[in-house]
């Protein structure tokens, strides 16, 4: 089928205007033959080119349709429906009534909605820890401490465990009579042995810490793969200048890692918005009160527990605005790397 793409074969500098041999694979033979027939039946150069384009186009369409269908039916349509639903007043199982922006008005007046975004802001305050703890660990591992491979494997282990499992595990570990408090009492820090999941501030702190426990290994791995791209010459040259290993890392390697740090920051930010659901579900269910209520969990409870689907969709739209802005950075990076160069 090589002759089907004259515009590209020219670039190879090979004689292209020759009859195409029918390839032997029986499965594609029929397809290949029909192509050849089209090729032979065409005479004038212009119409030939036009006709030759068609099978390529058909194949192209056939290849992109399944993926586009999946994306449209299971992501885009639900998003549009979520927006439409957010304009309807729904009460339990009654028929929905069109209500313009009533759900949004009710959402902004709802103190729990404000609390959920305030809690999210409090979680964001811990972002520097999320960014620099894995960086420091990656640097410690990168300088080839004894057993660095084992540390790398162990640090990534928590990320592999399902967040719902992590949540249930930590519900026991953080219980008032659980091992954390037993340890704190043992080392003489009895005043710190509090109800980790049941205090107004301690619950959100615990939730964030568990999320960090679950997520930091991915950061270590991300930084390590970034560090491995630093050219050896850079490190070698700095060493010849008499720079100590640590000065080297901090003054030379870390600035080179800026893109990785940026990427990891975006990833952490989006995870804080849309990755905590199973942890909240297992650890606190948004409580005590609404101390650990985050927007993504509020969408769930409003929709499925209070059966207020319209308002749940409106809160979902508010969350979507934030999640989309953050993810757009990831998409931009992915597009730059994966698009065909012209």
């Amino acid at each position: 089928m090589g002759v089907l793409f004259p515009h590209r074969l020219v670039s190879c500098g090979v004689a292209i205007d020759r009859p195409e041999p029918v390839h032997p694979a029986p499965f594609f033979q029929a397809f290949g033959q029909s192509m050849t027939q089209i090729d032979q039946s065409s005479s004038s150069g212009l119409t030939r080119k036009k006709r030759r384009m068609r099978p390529e186009l058909i194949l192209g369409i056939a290849l992109v349709v399944p993926g586009i269908a999946l994306a449209v039916i299971f992501k885009l349509v639900p998003l549009v429906r979520a927006f439409i639903l957010s304009l309807y007043q729904t009460r339990g199982f009654e028929d929905p009534k069109f209500a313009w922006f009533a759900n949004y008005a009710s959402m902004f007046k709802d103190p729990v909605f404000a609390t959920s975004f305030r809690n999210a802001a409090l979680v964001f305050v811990t972002l520097p820890v999320w960014i620099f703890l894995p960086l420091v660990l990656a640097l410690l591992i990168f300088q080839r401490s004894p057993g660095w491979k084992a540390f790398r494997a162990i640090y990534f282990l928590p990320y592999m465990i399902a967040p719902i499992v992590v949540g249930i595990m930590f519900r026991q570990i953080l219980a008032p009579d659980g091992p954390l408090n037993a340890f704190l009492i043992f080392i003489g820090l009895a005043p710190l042995a509090i109800e980790w999941l049941n205090g107004a501030t301690s619950a959100l702190f615990s939730l964030t810490s568990v999320a960090l426990w679950s997520f930091f290994g991915l950061g270590v791995l991300t930084y390590l793969s970034g560090l491995s791209t630093v050219p050896d010459e850079v490190i070698e040259a700095a060493r010849l200048d008499g720079a100590g290993f640590w000065r080297l890392l901090i003054e030379i390697v870390t600035p080179l890692l800026k893109p990785v740090i940026g990427y990891w920051t975006v990833l952490c930010t989006s995870s804080m918005l849309i990755w905590m659901f199973p942890l909240i579900y297992a650890l606190t269910r948004g409580g005590p009160g609404s101390a650990t209520m985050l927007p993504e969990y509020l969408v769930f409870t409003t929709t499925f527990e209070f059966l207020n689907r319209g308002k749940g969709a409106a809160i979902g739209m508010a969350l979507f605005v934030f999640a989309a802005i953050v993810s757009a950075f990831v998409v931009r990076r992915m597009y730059a790397e994966g698009k065909a160069s012209k």
Binding site: S11, G67, L70, L76, A153, V165, F245, G316
Partner: protein, 293 residues
């Protein structure tokens, strides 16, 4: 996992002029920090394994220590209470189906937009990866409605299609980025030799891209297997639900003891741990690190 021995260590890399005593202290301090973090990372898993081996009374008498007499009764009970064989089967079917469908769809699109150079190929690529901005939490109820409207309520297909759609952006991106690195000349040569496009895709591109497919399969396997929200809403408490929903619902039952739920947790995370052991080289090499959901 390969708990690498000390032989992996390389001579310390501190500046040549520094004090040897200071160097030793720094070295031990670094190792100490790394060990403390490793203990924190491992302890919850160890604690859960230990509890899962205790009897109910054994746990009541000694909740934090080592099990006195090891018992597997919790595993036997969790198999019945959670119907583990059934849920395991459901998880395998839905994760496997989602994985396969999302990889094949991504393979097709990546090939079409990078190697066929169809008109608007970049636009299609952008459209697919832009779907990343739609998280499942935002659309979960309308997604459920859409699945019901398609007559897929309570079927494996509903969850499989959802997994595939949510795995598609990252899969397409990884394969497109990989295909871009394959020189066009290679494909032109195959075309001149008379290979059809589908043959090029399946007999040439597919074998070359095994590393990329392995990386995205591991990535998709982990999040699909571990996901809670999609199966919880789409399958609910039906008998087609997944292991993660099973363990979440079991942990909510009032008469469930901690040893019993611990056994359930271990059963739920075991398949992922096996994958981690088998593919740790691919996972830890960082092939996945740059491209995570």
């Amino acid at each position: 996992m390969s708990l690498a021995s000390v032989s992996d260590s390389v001579p310390d890399e501190v500046a040549p002029g520094s004090n040897p005593l200071l160097r030793t202290i720094v070295k031990w301090l670094v190792t100490f920090i790394l060990v403390v973090v490793a203990v924190v990372a491992l302890y919850p898993l160890v604690f859960t394994v230990l509890n899962s081996l205790k009897t109910r009374t054994g746990y009541a008498q000694n909740p934090l220590g080592l099990p006195v007499d090891i018992s597997f009764e919790n595993y036997a009970e969790t198999f019945v209470r959670m119907d583990v064989p059934r849920l395991l089967f459901n998880s395998i079917i839905t994760t496997g189906g989602g994985l396969l469908l999302s990889t094949v769809a991504a393979l097709f699109i990546a090939y079409a937009v990078t190697k066929l150079r169809i008109k608007g190929g970049n636009l299609i690529f952008l459209f697919i990866i832009a779907m990343l901005v739609i998280p499942s939490q935002v659309v979960i109820y309308p997604l459920y409605e859409t699945i019901l409207d398609l007559g897929l309520g309570g079927t494996y297909q509903g969850l499989i299609f959802s997994y595939a759609a949510f795995g598609l952006p990252i899969s397409t991106y990884m394969l497109a980025a990989f295909f871009r690195a394959i020189p066009d000349e290679l494909i032109e040569a195959a075309r001149i030799d008379g290979a059809g496009e589908l043959r090029i895709l399946f007999q040439m591109m597919l074998p070359i891209s095994t590393p990329a497919i392995a990386a995205l399969s591991i990535l998709n396997f982990v999040w699909m297997w571990n996901d809670l929200l999609l199966p919880l809403v789409i399958m609910g408490g039906s008998d087609k639900t997944t292991l993660m929903v099973g363990v979440a619902l079991l942990s909510g039952q009032y008469d469930v003891s901690i040893p019993l739920i611990s056994a359930g947790l271990i059963v739920a995370l075991l398949p992922v741990m096996i994958v981690y052991l088998l593919f740790q080289r691919q996972i830890l090499s960082g092939a996945l690190a740059g491209a995570v959901k």
